[in-house]
């Protein structure tokens, strides 16, 4: 059971990362990220009041303790966060490159006007 959960988690990381990386930063992806964040926050809050519930879910998944489940979830979130942040960074870098290039070429003399 544990190995299945692990495979599912790893697959989830890759699928979600790829999906969020491909689409870039449009409104739908932003919405998906916010929904995921909301779910995570609600689960985290509930786990404070009902720690046994979390452990029961974990036991059902074959992970053992509830804290382990939270840890796995945190690792997945971290990777998704890294992937999306990297993607946003790349977009920002591309924009910055184009802007710098425009400035550089506009400031230089035009090649056709040289003697």
């Amino acid at each position: 059971m544990l190995i299945i959960v692990q495979i599912v988690l790893v697959a989830a990381v890759m699928v979600v990362s790829l999906a969020l990386m491909r689409g870039g930063s449009n409104a739908r992806h932003l919405a998906v990220r916010r929904i995921l964040l909301m779910i995570f926050a609600v689960v985290a809050a509930l786990s404070v009041f009902f720690p046994e519930a979390l452990t029961r879910v974990a036991g059902f998944l074959g992970i053992g303790r509830g804290t382990d489940l939270v840890l796995y979830g945190a690792v997945v979130s971290l990777f998704v966060f890294m992937a999306t942040t990297y993607q946003r960074f790349r977009h920002a870098e591309n924009a910055l490159t184009k802007l710098s290039r425009r400035i550089a070429i506009d400031e230089a003399e035009k090649p056709g006007q040289l003697s």
Binding site: E93, N94, S100, R101, A104, I105, A108, P111
Partner: protein
């Protein structure tokens, strides 16, 4: 009159870039130096040597500088050929001249320099292995039979130039260029060139560890 533009990406090369440009301008009057945010006065040296300097406001990387130089040259309506050339003096002007002749003759749309077509270039075994591996990888990925995928000396015509859009700002631009050529399918050929490894170019050039960066940048684009 037709023009050949030499594009030189430059970042903190004040000690050598002047003599490199002077050597070039005996054969090629049109040299554009893309300064990638140098802080050592390279710009003045390049201007004094007679190059047009296009200045990035911030440091972006060699790939970004090459693309800027290409776009600058493409503004010239009389453009006939673009040559990319390194600022550290490791390329020979004679090689560039022969490559331009081959492009102008219509033999190919792009001529790529290769240090492995003759035995002029002396390489350490480790560097040779890394470059050969890169060439094999590039051939498997693109189907283009190039012996030296990471050579900075290239000559190409405006049609090829206008279809090159480098987005890899830092080190992976050479591989990206080959990938784009594979899609564009121009008439291409390789030309034997000598890479002159001086102490200076060795200290400035890509270390072998940099191949790790190239692979990482290609993988996470």
């Amino acid at each position: 009159m037709s023009r050949t533009w030499i594009v030189i990406p430059m970042y903190n090369e004040a000690t050598v870039v002047g003599s490199v440009i002077e050597g070039l301008r005996k054969q090629f009057p049109y040299v554009v130096c893309v300064d990638d945010g140098s802080t050592d006065g390279s710009q003045e040296k390049a201007r004094a040597a007679g190059a047009v300097v296009v200045q990035h406001p911030i440091n972006l990387g060699q790939g970004a500088a090459l693309q800027t130089g290409i776009e600058f040259a493409l503004q010239d309506p009389e453009l006939e050929c673009i040559v990319t050339f390194d600022a550290d003096g490791q390329h020979r002007v004679d090689d560039a001249k022969a490559m331009v002749e081959r492009v102008k003759s219509g033999e190919a749309e792009i001529i790529l320099g290769s240090r492995f077509l003759d035995d002029r270039t002396k390489l350490s075994p480790a560097k040779r292995l890394v470059l050969k591996t890169a060439a094999i990888q590039s051939r498997l990925a693109t189907g283009m039979n190039l012996t030296d995928a990471h050579n900075g000396l290239r000559a190409f015509n405006p049609r090829v130039a206008s279809n090159i859009h480098l987005t890899q700002n830092r080190m992976a631009h050479a591989s990206e260029l080959v990938n784009q050529l594979a899609r564009l399918k121009p008439k291409y050929a390789e030309h034997p060139v000598e890479i002159i490894y001086t102490d200076y170019s060795k200290s400035k050039g890509q270390s072998l560890l940099n191949s790790v960066n190239i692979v990482a940048e290609l993988f996470f684009k």
